[in-house]
C-alpha cells in the first residue's frame, strides 16, 4: 500500500519538480534610432537569437544579436557604426534578464536588463515592455533607453556635428514557450 502511495506521489511530483520550460525567440525586429541635426536614422536587425530557461519559477533570458546585422540603408554608415561600436572586436550584443515565470501572464512587465555591447556592460532598471498573447505566442514590444555614453562610445560626427547621445532601441519580439 505504502509503495503504491509512493509511486503515485512520484508520478505527481516529477512533473512538478521537472517542470522547467523554455522560451524560444521566433521573430524579432530590433531598431536603433540615431539623431543628427541633418539626419534621423534607423538601423534594423531581424537576426536576433534568444532563449529563456525557466526553473523554480524564475526564467533566465538571453538574447544575442550580431552588431553587423543592423542595416541602416547605407553601407557606409553601417561600416562607420561598426567601427565606433568596436563591432569587429565585440561582434555580439547580448541582453540578459531574469523574470518571474508568472510575468508571462501580465499585460506589461518591467524588466531589469543587462546589456553587453562594444566591450562594455550596462544595466537598465525597470524597462517597461508590453505583452500580447496570440496563438500560443507572446508578442513583446518596448524601447530600451540606451545611450552612447552607457557603452563609452564616442558619438560619431557628420560634417563636424556629432550625433545625439540617445540611441533608443525599439524591441519587437515574438516568443514561443516550449
Amino acid at each position: 500500500m505504502n509503495r503504491k502511495i509512493l509511486i503515485a506521489f512520484l508520478f505527481v511530483a516529477i512533473p512538478t519538480f521537472g517542470a522547467d520550460s523554455q522560451w524560444v525567440l521566433q521573430q524579432s525586429t530590433l531598431t536603433y534610432h540615431v539623431s543628427h541635426p541633418l539626419h534621423q536614422t534607423d538601423g534594423v536587425s531581424h537576426t536576433a537569437k534568444g532563449k529563456g530557461v525557466c526553473h523554480a519559477g524564475e526564467c533566465d533570458f538571453l538574447i544575442a544579436v550580431p552588431v553587423k546585422s543592423f542595416d541602416s540603408g547605407d553601407s557606409n554608415r553601417d561600416l562607420h557604426m561598426l567601427q565606433v561600436t568596436r563591432g569587429a572586436e565585440f561582434p555580439i550584443v547580448t541582453v540578459r534578464t531574469r523574470l518571474p515565470e508568472s510575468a508571462a501572464a501580465s499585460a506589461t512587465i518591467n524588466a531589469d536588463l543587462e546589456i553587453q555591447f562594444a566591450g562594455q556592460t550596462a544595466q537598465y532598471k525597470q524597462v517597461p515592455f508590453k505583452l500580447e498573447k496570440q496563438d500560443g505566442e507572446t508578442h513583446i514590444t518596448g524601447t530600451i533607453p540606451a545611450t552612447l555614453s552607457d557603452f563609452k562610445i564616442d558619438p560619431p560626427s557628420l560634417l563636424t556635428m556629432p550625433v545625439k547621445n540617445d540611441i533608443p532601441v525599439r524591441v519587437d519580439m515574438i516568443w514561443r514557450q516550449q
Binding site: H55, D74, N76, E89, K152
Partner: protein, 309 residues
Amino acid sequence: MLRQIFRNRHSGVPGLAFWVCLSVAFAPFLMAQTAGMGTLMGRVIDTSGNAVTNATVTATSVDNGRMRSATTGPDGTYKLDMAPGNYRVKLEAIGFKTVEIPSVTVSGTETAVLDEKLKMEEQSTGKPTPAQQDNLPNAPSSSTTAPSLSDLGLSPEQTRGNPQEQALLDKRTHMLKIHQRMGLITTIPLIATVVTSLNAGGKSEGTASRDLHVALGALTGDLYGITAYYAIRAPRIPGTKKRGPIKFHEAMAWIHGPGMILTPILGAMAFSQKNNGEKVHGIAQAHGPVAIVTAGTFGAALLSVSVKF
C-alpha cells in the same frame, strides 16, 4: 603656359594665400606624425611553456576607456602600438582561463614587455560564473540554468572578436574622416573660384581678377587631390556590399573627378588666350561649362551623404 601660371601663383598675394592654406591643411597630419606612441609586446604561453596562438590581448586605457587588441601569432607573441598611459590588460584564449592585469604602464620612449602564462580552463560551459550570476538583474539567484551563447546556436567563430578587422575599420574611418573634412574645406575655395570666374572671363581686360581666379582654382585642385587621395586609399572591408546614398556619392566622383582634371587644363588654355589679347576660342570655351558641371556634381556628392532626401 602652365609654368607661367605657376610663376604667377608664386608672385602675388594669391600665391602666398595658396601656400598658407596648404600649410594649414597639412598641419594636423604633420603634428599627428610627430606625436609619441608607445608599444606593449610580449609572449603568451601555457603552463608547459608552449606558445598559445590566437590568444586575444586587449588593453583598455584606464584614462579614457579606449581599447586596443591584438592576437598572438604562432609563436605566442603579440605587439600593440598605443598612446602612452596606464592600461588594464586582458588575455583570453579558448580553453584557457582569462587573465586580467589591472595596470600596465606604457611609456612613449620604452617598449613595455608583458609575458603571461595562461592556465587551462577546467570545464568551460559558456555559462555565467557565480559572480556573473549575482550581477544578473532582478534579484540574485542560485540558478545555473541561464542560457549561454552556444545554447543559441552561435559558434565560437561567430562570437570571437576580430582585431584585424577592427584595425581595418579604424583605419578606414580615420581616412574617411580626413576625406570628409578636406571635402568641406575644398568647398570654400571652390565656391570662391566660381564667384571670381564672373570677373575673370568675358569682356574683362584686367589681369588681377584672372590671377585670383587662377590661384583659387589651383588651391581648389590641390585640396581636391588630397580629398580624393583619402577616399581612394581608405581600405575596403571585404564582404561589404555597397548600398544607399554612398553609391550616388561615388557615382558623382566619376564626373567631378575627370572634371577636376579637365577644368584647369581648359582654364590654362583660356588664360593663355586672354593674356595674348585673344578672345577665348576653340576647346578652351568649354572651361566654364565643364567647371560648372564639376562644381555641381561635387556639391551633389557632398549633399548626398549629408542630407537625407
